[in-house]
């Protein structure tokens, strides 16, 4: 009985004490170590070039997420030069930041350097365009899947079974870029099962809108009954859209991009018929979460291989909302 009394008293006391504690707030014991593991860490970003919607969007998102955590964020801009990019990574390897975020210009160029960086104890995260070397993480579009999605949309729009004539044209970016090479594989996967579809032209416009425009004009001239164009980047496809509008023809333009406000404006004024968007702010969030996780786990770089494929959203004039696109400001 005495024991019971003591127990009751003790638990009552404990409850009171707990209530007092709750009023003052409970300290989260895991919090301090988390901030400690992030404080003062350095993240370096090596894009293909700054100055366009994708890289500016990633950089802005990373800076906004990482700097409040006490991390340093710096950008090494090689301005479209693969050599300069390789040099930037080489010098980073000796400077030893904690994480390198890299945007590969093609599948091969940086592969060995990325391995060297991981051997030197630096985490490597690849963005949107994969290298042939798999590092700690890849965050970006599944381009083979993107190609399949694009081809399926074209079949839906243009296949003779659905009332079209099956004639489509493709305008790629740079042939060796991951976005072009993997995507063609995906497109061919689908088209192989649809012999009724006919690719009347498949050209590379080098990510340049003027080239895209001239190619599109000639292709439409040569195939007046063309059903659809597939373009590999909205910034370049502005040229294709201009050629279609000038010809006055009803050709479907299926484009893709980071979902910047220019894409929504293009849908509204009829430049594109449809844009498949991989949401850049979402990717920036994925990358920064990946960085925070890698630093907390405190593991040896290169031991964890993760891939986060970005979700794809299809925007058309009917489905586009003010919130569908993002702006840098």
């Amino acid at each position: 009985m005495r024991l019971l009394k003591t127990l009751v008293c003790a638990s009552a006391l404990a409850l009171c004490g707990g209530a007092v504690l709750a009023q003052e707030g409970i300290d989260d014991a895991t919090r301090a170590p988390i901030y400690q593991s992030l404080e003062g860490k350095t993240v370096a970003f090596v894009p293909q070039a700054m100055g366009f919607d994708l890289t500016e969007g990633w950089a802005a998102g990373l800076r906004a997420a990482l700097e409040p955590l006490g991390m340093k964020f710096e950008i090494r801009d090689p301005n479209w030069s693969t050599d300069a990019g390789a040099q930037a990574i080489t010098s980073l390897i000796s400077e030893k930041p904690d994480v390198i975020v890299v945007h590969n210009p093609d599948v091969q160029s940086y592969a060995r350097l990325l391995k060297k960086a991981e051997d030197a104890g630096i985490h490597v995260i690849q963005v949107n365009m994969r290298s042939s070397y798999s590092s700690d993480a890849y965050v970006g579009v599944d381009y083979v899947g993107m190609g399949e999605k694009v081809a399926n949309r074209l079949v839906e729009k243009c296949s003779p079974d659905n009332g079209g004539n099956g004639k489509i044209a493709i305008i790629q970016g740079v042939l060796t870029a991951a976005a072009s090479a993997y995507q063609m594989k995906g497109i061919n996967n689908v088209l192989a099962q649809h012999p009724e579809m006919q690719v009347v032209s498949n050209q590379a416009a080098d990510w340049d809108s003027t080239k895209a425009r001239n190619i599109a004009a000639t292709v439409m001239q040569q195939n007046p009954d063309l059903c659809a164009f597939a373009g590999f980047w909205d910034v370049m496809d502005v040229g294709t859209g201009a050629a279609i509008q000038e010809s006055g023809k009803d050709v479907y333009l299926l484009s893709q991009g980071g979902g910047n406000e220019a894409a929504c404006a293009g849908l509204a004024n009829g430049t594109y018929s449809e844009v498949i968007s991989w949401d850049v702010p979402g990717q920036a969030r994925d990358i920064s979460n990946m960085i925070v996780q890698l630093l907390q786990l405190d593991i040896k770089p290169g031991t964890m291989k993760t891939t986060l494929f970005s979700p794809l959203t299809s925007l058309t004039m009917d489905t586009v909302k003010p919130s569908s696109c993002w702006s840098l400001n």
């Binding site: 042939l175 009347v200 809108s209 003027t210 080239k211 502005v238 201009a242 404006a265």
Partner: protein, 324 residues
């Protein structure tokens, strides 16, 4: 050799163009379709306009490697200002002003500081691009604002069924022709290009004429830039660092304007532009890959230069004058 001995490079290239034309007409159905031919000229009219600018400079024995960079930066700034709410005419005036001042500065470096044109314009091109990228606009691609959409007519409209850029190309050619042929400065420019020392002794104001070349080139470049922006509703400033300026030189040299200056005219530019247009159009119809197209373009240029060197061998005088 006797039959060909009298042919100039312009005639050779024109012959090549006609041959290609006949070949494509037979091999590619739809090539001779009037709409395709209009489209062909339209697709190279901007290249042709830049060719006129480069042609004038090269006739004056210079070269302008900053042409494309200046075009991209001045027009991108115009669009940027217009996008920020400035009235379009004012934005265009500021962009044009920037272009002319930069052109005059390049000209002064060459005429008064006496830096060789190739180095002065190479450096100026990089400087202008860097300056623009850092101070004037933030993104590589600057879009045409919505309230300037009437400008699109310059690049996408048509007049009597013919695309407007073709008319503008013709106008610029006519202007260039009249300038070189009938104005005093035009004839001075040719004299300076032919032999600077002699021109100076004769009393030609050589230095101001050299400055004039680059101002004209900047002016024509700005026109070409506005048409480019109107064609694709945006200006991609990355052309500044691309190899586009070499395409422009290709048109000029291919047409037969010698890099040693003093020779050639606007007709050469037109012939060179047409050959490139026919080639590009035919190759696109044949669905030849872009990289292979570059190889073919390069081979054609080499071919034209080799034929020219065989038919018009260098003599002591031209060798002493030296090339750029």
């Amino acid at each position: 050799m006797n039959i060909f001995g009298r042919l100039t490079q312009e005639q050779i290239v024109f012959g090549l163009a006609v041959l290609l034309c006949i070949g494509f007409a037979i091999a590619l159905p739809g090539f001779l379709n009037p709409n395709n031919l209009l489209n062909l000229v339209r697709s190279v009219s901007i290249l042709g306009i830049l060719g006129v600018a480069m042609g004038i400079v090269v006739i004056g024995r210079g070269i302008d490697l900053s042409l494309v960079a200046l075009m991209a930066v001045s027009v991108a700034w115009t669009l940027q200002l217009a996008g920020g709410g400035m009235p379009i005419p004012q934005a265009v005036a500021l962009g044009l002003g920037f272009s002319l001042v930069a052109g005059a500065l390049t000209g002064a470096l060459i005429a008064y500081v006496e830096i060789p044109a190739i180095f002065a314009t190479l450096a100026m091109g990089t400087l202008i691009y860097g300056f623009g990228r850092f101070f004037l606009f933030g993104l590589d691609v600057v879009y045409l604002p919505d309230d300037a959409r009437y400008l699109l007519w310059l690049g996408q409209g048509s007049l009597f069924g013919i695309p407007v850029p073709i008319f503008l190309f013709a106008l610029v050619c006519l202007g260039g022709y009249l300038f070189l042929r009938y104005t005093k400065s035009g004839r001075y420019l040719r004299a300076v290009g032919d032999n600077l020392e002699v021109a100076r002794i004769t009393g030609v104001p050589a230095r101001p004429i050299i400055v004039l070349q680059y101002v004209l080139s900047a002016l024509i470049g700005f026109v070409a830039g506005i048409i480019t922006a109107a064609s694709v509703a945006s200006m991609n400033t990355r052309v500044a660092t691309s190899t586009y300026v070499y395409d422009v030189i290709l048109v000029v040299v291919l047409g037969g304007i010698g890099l040693s200056g003093g020779r050639g005219g606007i007709r050469n530019v037109i012939v060179g532009t047409l050959l490139i247009g026919i080639l590009l159009n035919g190759m696109t119809i044949m669905n030849i890959q872009y990289t292979v197209q570059n190889v073919i373009k390069g081979v054609i240029l080499l071919l034209a230069i080799v034929i020219d060197t065989i038919l018009n061998p260098r003599d002591e005088q031209t060798a002493q004058q030296g090339d750029i």
